[in-house]
Symmetry: C2
Subunit: 405 residues, 2 copies
Amino acid sequence: MIDRATLAARDAADPLAPFRDRFTLPEGVIYLDGNSLGALPRATPERVAQVVTQEWGTSLIRAWNAHGWIDLAQRVGEKIGRLIGAAPGSTIVADSTSINLFKLLGAALAARPGRHTILTETGNFPTDLYVADGLTRLLGRGHQVRAVDDPVVALDDDVAVLMLTHVNYRTGAMHDMASISRAAHAVGALVLWDLSHSVGAVPLALAADGADLAVGCGYKFLNGGPGAPAFLSVSPALQADLRLPITGWLGHAAPFDFAPDFRPAGGVAAAVVGTPPVLSLAALEVGVDLMLEAPMPALREKSLRLGESFLALMDALPGFVPITPRDTTRASQVAFRHPDGYAIMQALIARGVIGDFRAPDILRFGLAPLYLRHVEVWDAVAALRDIMRSGAWQDAAFQHRQAVT
Amino acid sequence: MIDRATLAARDAADPLAPFRDRFTLPEGVIYLDGNSLGALPRATPERVAQVVTQEWGTSLIRAWNAHGWIDLAQRVGEKIGRLIGAAPGSTIVADSTSINLFKLLGAALAARPGRHTILTETGNFPTDLYVADGLTRLLGRGHQVRAVDDPVVALDDDVAVLMLTHVNYRTGAMHDMASISRAAHAVGALVLWDLSHSVGAVPLALAADGADLAVGCGYKFLNGGPGAPAFLSVSPALQADLRLPITGWLGHAAPFDFAPDFRPAGGVAAAVVGTPPVLSLAALEVGVDLMLEAPMPALREKSLRLGESFLALMDALPGFVPITPRDTTRASQVAFRHPDGYAIMQALIARGVIGDFRAPDILRFGLAPLYLRHVEVWDAVAALRDIMRSGAWQDAAFQHRQAVT
């Protein structure tokens, strides 16, 4: 039995509790959507203002050198590399997750000539599927995207790359990176991990677990701000022969030579392509720095506890079907099916409990251990219980059912 | 004969003079590099702070709807569309110029099957060449990038797309968009314009001039901030069958359906791909709004005058060879060759006159008519005259010559 006092006691003993004050969170809100858009670190406004007013406004073009903008993508990438357990020099910030997927899938197919399959999982995040489909259509050389329920079983010697999202965006279920990477390598395939729902949320050890390629998002658990630039990571073994499909001037070995022929910068630096959005990148660095301060074992422990309470409390609410694992294959979110999920989530949000809805019937709650309190789980479920009891959501549900049918 | 008093009189009569106060410019600086990184609009810090603190910090995920982030790329794109004379609904903000080039070159080749040539100009901006080369290598279907001195003469029925930078990044020479577009269409080719050094600097009329495709940069004359997102534009005739090589979730017709198959949003909206960097995009909008306030005929008139004075004053300085047209094919910058250009530019920058150097020997000066004063041209050339007279740059030049040889 969990009661609110137990959870309050956990908050009192929480070694991560001081991190909450490092964020600005609005009054009256329980924020359970940090897996869509992370919260605002308290240090971000001042840092962004400094970049805008001091660096851009005062140094103007000179800021590229004077304030290190020219190295920013690599510097922040290197920091993210520590969060994901990548080898030094493997990780860089660039573009969006989708664009980075395109680059690394292209590089993966080039690194495995003669193989024609991008293997992935049914229910992978749609952009991963769209990007892969778009790439194979563009190439027009008989490549296929195979999405199956159990990709490990489907691995064969036609698979160039196994592309998986490490944490499922709906269920929060997490793959075992080490064993799946081994299985892919056993058939000569590369493995590409989308870490969008993993980075900053769960322990990651890309190098130790044999990951070849990875991409991920800066605006979820990294708290980098809306549309924060994404990152990509390439294992050292693949860097020497990396053939990227998009080659742009900032990925050149000597961009300011303005030479007519492309000569790639060494390693992942070639993947930068165009000029990065410095303001957004500076905001991302604040989020990443904050995450680096927090010990991952404590984050993971708290995250599992938050999820455990949430699942246990929801067991007493009829009509909600949990789709999140109860064991340690759960990442840092919980999700439930309910036929009127849309209307119920709207009612919850109206009460300041912010989760999100994923079609057709999923209520999804992100559990960011850096700023979430244990009692907030209690209060969120209590609000949900009130809503279900009052039935106030039912008119909205009726309207929504009419609209979608 | 031009003297400082004449130029001061022009400033006094300048209808654009009030715009200078809409920018924050550092004391003691004459900024002649707005063609690399535009200056900071006075309204930008507050707007960015608002997006960070109020929108992100307070509304969190709800800001996507509550503050219109979801439409931001289209809204700012539409405004840029007005600046470039594109048809309504043709222009959108997304990614970097390089990534957008990749997308539109891919779409152009798909729209002209059976043709194998991307025709361009020797001396085009390197990233344009790199992106085109990377794409043709990726496709592996016998496409070639042909860079020639006079691409109009080289047009033939194998040309799928003629890709040109409208204003040359070194010389500032401007192509005639209407006649070149006609020539390309006469052989059945599409024409793609890189407007990075044009938008906000010269009058543009994409629709009237028959441009098919265009990309451009947000951080130069649009004053959108370092690494501001770029834009792309597709003529209405090409939008229906637009086959983009990169397909991402925000370019989906219904991104929040999370459907497994990609169904493109209508028109250019399909080109968004990933989540845009909202902070950088918000800063760009301030710059674009400011540019929309300024009448282009007055901007163009002032820009030509600034260039004319600069060229005339430089005629009296031996050793500098102008490479910028003196007639109205000149855009909004001037450039000169000098064998010791690097050291001379360093000496100029040390005195607060900020232009830039482009290898091997080019001193380049951007003339942003929105915030530059006529007398600043006088003062810049006077500083250069002092430097040449004092010979103080010669030690640095000697070192530079040793370093590069």
